[in-house]
């Protein structure tokens, strides 16, 4: 845990020096919402459509963060430096997943209010607590799977291609569960209800399964 905190602190410091990841994710999300606004040709959306738009926007913006997650390690020798240290290698999985999770939270802190302001018909206030729960579970899944995919992709020459090609199919179940869980929350007729428990359980199980899988294989991904 201590090593993971050392790595996380370094990653956050690097992001605060360069601002290469989070601003790009936020900008991408805002532009995507503008595109949806014109493409759907509606002033306001709600329910399942709104949940789908929000989920897809977050997912695509997350891909930018996923693609950049290990770039500094690959290009500046961070992998070698880490592998030379007498530490548990799964610390890197934990640190990178935590960094990606924080980037996603940072993205949503800006993107969700913007979504409520420019696209969502019903008020964002009443469903917000339930929506936060759904997004936290979705972010956990995105962070774990994103870290796994990024660790694979960065070893290849076509990492910008491999990331989405590998990540998006793996994230489809999480995408469906997130959208289904958020849909009723954003419905005009049912603005303040709790998210459907079934989809939350599916999302949580999905996160757990992939967290265990990532823990099991991550060491091998760092091996030569």
């Amino acid at each position: 845990m201590r090593t993971a905190l050392v790595l996380l602190r370094k990653d956050l410091r690097l992001e605060m020096r360069t601002w290469e990841t989070l601003p790009a994710m936020v900008l991408f999300a805002l532009v995507t919402m503008v595109i949806f606004h014109f493409a759907l040709n509606q002033d306001a959306i709600d329910g399942q459509l709104a949940a789908g738009v929000l989920t897809v926007t977050v997912l695509f913006a997350a891909m930018l963060g996923i693609n950049r997650l290990f770039v500094a390690e690959r290009e500046q020798g961070g992998f070698d430096a880490f592998l030379l240290a007498p530490v548990d290698r799964s610390a890197m999985l934990l640190a990178k997943a935590a960094a990606l999770f924080l980037f996603l939270v940072g993205l949503e802190v800006i993107a969700v209010p913007a979504f409520g302001l420019f696209l969502l018909g019903p008020s964002l206030g009443p469903p917000l607590p339930g929506l936060i729960l759904v997004l936290v579970l979705a972010d956990l899944g995105l962070a774990v799977i994103g870290t796994l995919v990024s660790a694979i992709a960065v070893q290849t020459r076509a990492r910008d291609l491999i990331g989405p090609m590998l990540g998006l199919p793996l994230l489809v179940p999480a995408l469906i569960a997130t959208a289904r869980a958020a849909g009723p929350l954003l419905a005009a007729s049912h603005p303040a209800g709790a998210p459907p428990g079934r989809w939350l359980v599916i999302l949580a199980l999905y996160d757990l399964v992939f967290a265990l899988l990532a823990y099991a294989v991550f060491d091998f991904l760092l091996e030569d």
């Binding site: 090593t3 370094k10 410091r13 500094a72 030379l84 091996e223």
Partner: protein, 231 residues
């Protein structure tokens, strides 16, 4: 220094490593006692850096045995990682972090007291520029920081790939106590300056196309053999 009496720090037996169909190393066998220096010579692409990466447990051998401090690699790599320092072509420093931040990061990874960071910064003469991002430093300064990084945790084995690259004579003299013979470490070093490497070595491994062309003491490595190696 006697190279006979001490137990081997490094033992290679029939080491081979391939990259696809290309042979990077083949049939490499050498035994290096603790505290001794092995100079690895050869033309570009002869397999010198590959050998260092295998010894650092960053690459897996495809055949043969690699034993470092009595621990077989890569299976027991975790047992030797904290005991070796690698100075490679890449400085293994983050460009956007300062020299001090980089060294503190490595100190935390190696569980070394942060006081040691200032100690090595002074030793490489970088204490005044330690607050500058690495991207703003000259290559020589980055190399000095890389030396500081490699010796930060006081390793027993130094793997030095062109350790004096980009260093002027003054800087080279400055890092000598850290990575030279005076460090007391077991050393494996590569160099594009064979004369300098031979002067430092207790044992020479000359590689040609990944295969050993010569293994023995420097005195036995003739000028003709050297000329043939680089022909």
């Amino acid at each position: 220094m006697s190279v006979v009496a001490q137990p081997p720090a490094i033992e290679l037996r029939g080491l081979a490593r391939y990259f696809g169909e290309r042979t990077a190393l083949r049939d490499v066998s050498v035994s290096l006692p603790a505290g001794a220096t092995l100079a690895v010579l050869g033309r570009n692409g002869a397999g010198k850096s590959t050998l260092l990466r295998i010894l650092a447990s960053l690459l897996r051998p495809h055949a043969g045995d690699v034993v470092v401090f009595g621990e077989p690699l890569p299976r027991r790599g975790f047992a030797v990682r904290g005991r070796l320092g690698l100075l490679s072509h890449e400085p293994l420093l983050y460009r956007e972090l300062t020299g001090r931040e980089n060294l503190e990061y490595h100190a935390r990874l190696h569980r070394v007291a942060l006081d040691r960071v200032q100690e090595v910064l002074v030793a490489v003469g970088m204490e005044r520029r330690a607050g500058d991002p690495v991207r703003l430093l000259s290559r020589g300064m980055v190399q000095r920081l890389a030396v500081a990084r490699a010796v930060l945790h006081a390793p027993a084995l130094l793997l030095l790939d062109e350790p004096r690259a980009n260093l002027d004579p003054a800087a080279s003299a400055l890092v000598e106590p850290l990575i030279g013979r005076a460090s007391g470490c077991t050393r494996v070093l590569t160099s594009h300056d064979p004369a300098a490497a031979l002067a430092e070595a207790d044992l020479v491994l000359a590689l040609k196309d990944g295969r050993p062309a010569f293994v023995g003491e420097p005195a036995q490595f003739t000028a003709a053999a050297l000329a043939k190696l680089y022909a």
